[in-house]
């Protein structure tokens, strides 16, 4: 068999497809639960995106290496062990180096184990492919997930708190309390608005790419 280069067109496609037309959140509608929960502010959204990307990529590689040795009937339990090991590692790293954010993310770091995207990519891709493509696929899907998280987090923090990454963007003199006319939108902070924002992103994506529209 001919040796494939590391960044062949096929591998690059694995990286770029999940950002757009096979995005895990907007097209496959996976991982929505955490996308609603951690996107009130931009910072936790970014940290969550990085954590999930790391977990998907590394667990994909590990499962891909093990794929020929695991009996088919117990593969799910093995996947769970691998994923939870990584999640615990990520959790410990966050607690050590980003304690505040880790407090904000609270239970949702642990819940990466149940994030459908992680198990989905292992089942659908890593178990049938070599380590390198599995790694690229994992990175791609993690970034695709992260992209949506960052966009939603950006809008929610800007409109809901008037800040970005904790820095004030909308000057405080604009607010009604200080004699201005502006007010933060409380609905954006609530989870339903995250769902509506996600819906709007899906709407925009589908009106640009008609292939995604079901007949």
């Amino acid at each position: 068999m001919e040796k494939e280069s590391l960044f062949s067109a096929k591998n690059l496609k694995l990286l770029t497809d999940p950002l757009g037309r096979s995005n895990p959140v907007t097209v496959l509608v996976l991982g929505v639960c955490s996308a609603l929960a951690v996107t009130v502010k931009l910072e936790p959204a970014v940290v969550m995106a990085i954590s999930v990307t790391v977990v998907i990529a590394v667990s994909s590689v590990v499962m891909s290496l093990l794929r020929n040795t695991i009996p088919n009937r117990i593969r799910i339990i093995v996947q769970l062990v691998v994923v939870s090991l990584l999640v615990i590692l990520v959790d410990q790293v966050l607690r050590a180096f980003a304690y505040d954010v880790s407090k904000q993310l609270s239970v949702f770091v642990g819940l990466i184990i149940t994030n459908c995207i992680v198990m989905g990519r292992i089942e659908a891709f890593a178990l049938g492919n070599k380590p390198w493509p599995s790694f690229v696929d994992g990175i791609g899907n993690g970034l695709g997930y992260g992209l949506i998280l960052v966009v939603v987090g950006f809008v929610r923090e800007l409109l809901g708190s008037g800040t970005l990454w904790g820095y004030r963007i909308i000057p405080s003199s604009f607010y009604i309390a200080n004699g201005g006319v502006y007010e933060n939108n409380g609905l954006v902070i609530l989870p339903p608005m995250a769902l509506i924002l996600l819906g709007i992103i899906i709407w925009i994506q589908r009106s640009r790419n008609k292939n995604l529209v079901e007949s």
Binding site: E183, N185, I196
Partner: protein
């Protein structure tokens, strides 16, 4: 009339295919069919021909809203002059109210119709007339001092997220006007709840006469300033109380209700069942009687806050209500019950009508489904029995 007709006939070619203003054709159609009957008629099949089309139905609703709107406009001024403790004549009171209400109406119509026209144009649809009523309802369920940009944002949200994404007029799940109110309620709670915002100019706090609080009857009931005196009850019925613009006067709303029921545009079933539900829930709380609010006479629930307005103009929205006859009874009854339950039991929401109607909007299709299924099962059973006898 003839002159208008001629004018429309003259400019029509510009808007037809190939004309220089073709891109505005749905705008043209909207205005033409608002003034006259639509030019195009169905050419095949059997149809019931009736002069009442969607536009005429909507016009009846708007006429029915007029008493409440005019009274509300006057009341905005009346409450304002009461709060500053000055005497004023009828016209200066009314003009003050008009100065508050007209900008709100303008904002609601400009934003809502702007989006409707634009999206009809983009999709190549005709403009639907659903917003004619929503546009007047939205300001009527708002407090007089709500900032206009919030109103614009709420209107845009209601039209785009509440209506257009579902496919436009007739396809929406939730009542757009209530959605606009809910948007402000959850986005900017300090501008639509509390004691200071129901009277125009009160939140500024300048020149308010001593002892004037601006609290609505619902707010008073919430904090247990009960029971209402006979004079207060009378005021609540006639609407001389602070509140959202259109909701205060039960008397004016009853006038509108009479017109809606008489013309058959609004469903009397829904109105009656909402009232029945609210009244029975009130009686139930009377029986429990654990605090002052629970002891409130049940009929007073029906005249306070937005109950009457919601029952007559919001719950009867033909798009979002249940469609079947028995479905309408269940739907309305549950709205009444929920509204009173939310009022009395939930300290976070002094008024439950908006949330009750939105909640039942979501359940209306399910109610209809169950009613239709029950009907089918009953008929099947009857058919089987008949078959066995033979």
């Amino acid at each position: 009339m003839k002159a208008t007709q001629n004018f429309f006939d003259k400019i029509r070619p510009d808007f037809e295919k190939g004309g220089r203003l073709h891109f505005l054709h749905s705008t043209f159609e909207a205005f033409e069919s608002l003034l006259f009957v639509p030019k195009t008629v169905t050419s095949s099949g059997c149809h019931v021909r009736d002069a009442i089309d969607l536009k005429r139905t909507m016009t009846v609703v708007i006429v029915a809203l007029m008493p409440a709107l005019l009274f509300g406009t006057w009341n905005v001024g009346f409450q304002h002059y009461l709060s500053v403790g000055r005497e004023a004549g009828f016209w200066s009171i009314f003009l003050y109210g008009l100065g508050k209400v007209l900008p709100m109406l303008a904002v609601s119509y400009i934003v809502g119709l702007g989006i409707e026209f634009a999206s009809a144009q983009i999709r190549g649809h005709e403009v639907n007339e659903g917003f004619l009523v929503s546009g007047i309802l939205i300001p009527m369920v708002m407090p007089p001092d709500v900032p206009l940009w919030m109103l614009a944002l709420a209107t845009a949200f209601a039209v785009v997220i509440g209506k257009e994404v579902f496919g436009g007029t007739g396809m929406n799940i939730f009542n757009p006007a209530l959605l606009a109110r809910a948007f402000i309620f959850f986005s900017y709670p300090s501008h639509i709840s509390g004691d200071a915002i129901w009277v125009a100019g009160l939140s500024g706090g300048t020149g308010v006469v001593d002892g004037f609080s601006g609290a609505t009857p619902l707010a008073k009931a919430m904090v247990g300033r009960l029971p209402f005196s006979a004079m207060e009850v009378e005021k609540i019925f006639w609407g001389l109380i602070p509140g959202s613009i259109g909701e205060t006067s039960t008397a004016a709303i009853l006038l509108g209700a009479a017109l809606l029921v008489f013309t058959g545009v609004g469903s009397a079933r829904i109105m009656l069942s909402v009232v029945a539900g609210g009244y029975l829930a009130g009686l139930l709380f009377n029986a429990v009687g654990a605090n002052a609010y629970m002891n409130l006479p049940a009929y007073q629930h029906l005249i306070m806050g937005g109950f009457a307005f919601g029952a007559v103009f919001m719950a009867t929205d033909p798009v979002t209500a249940a469609q079947t006859k028995s479905g309408k009874w269940i739907y309305g009854f549950l709205i009444g019950v929920m509204a009173v339950v939310i009022r009395v039991l939930n300290p976070a929401y002094p008024e439950g009508m908006m949330l009750a109607i939105l909640l039942m909007n979501a359940f209306a299709p399910l109610i209809d489904h169950c009613v239709v299924q029950a009907n089918m099962n009953r008929r099947l059973k009857r058919a089987r029995q008949a078959a066995q006898k033979v």
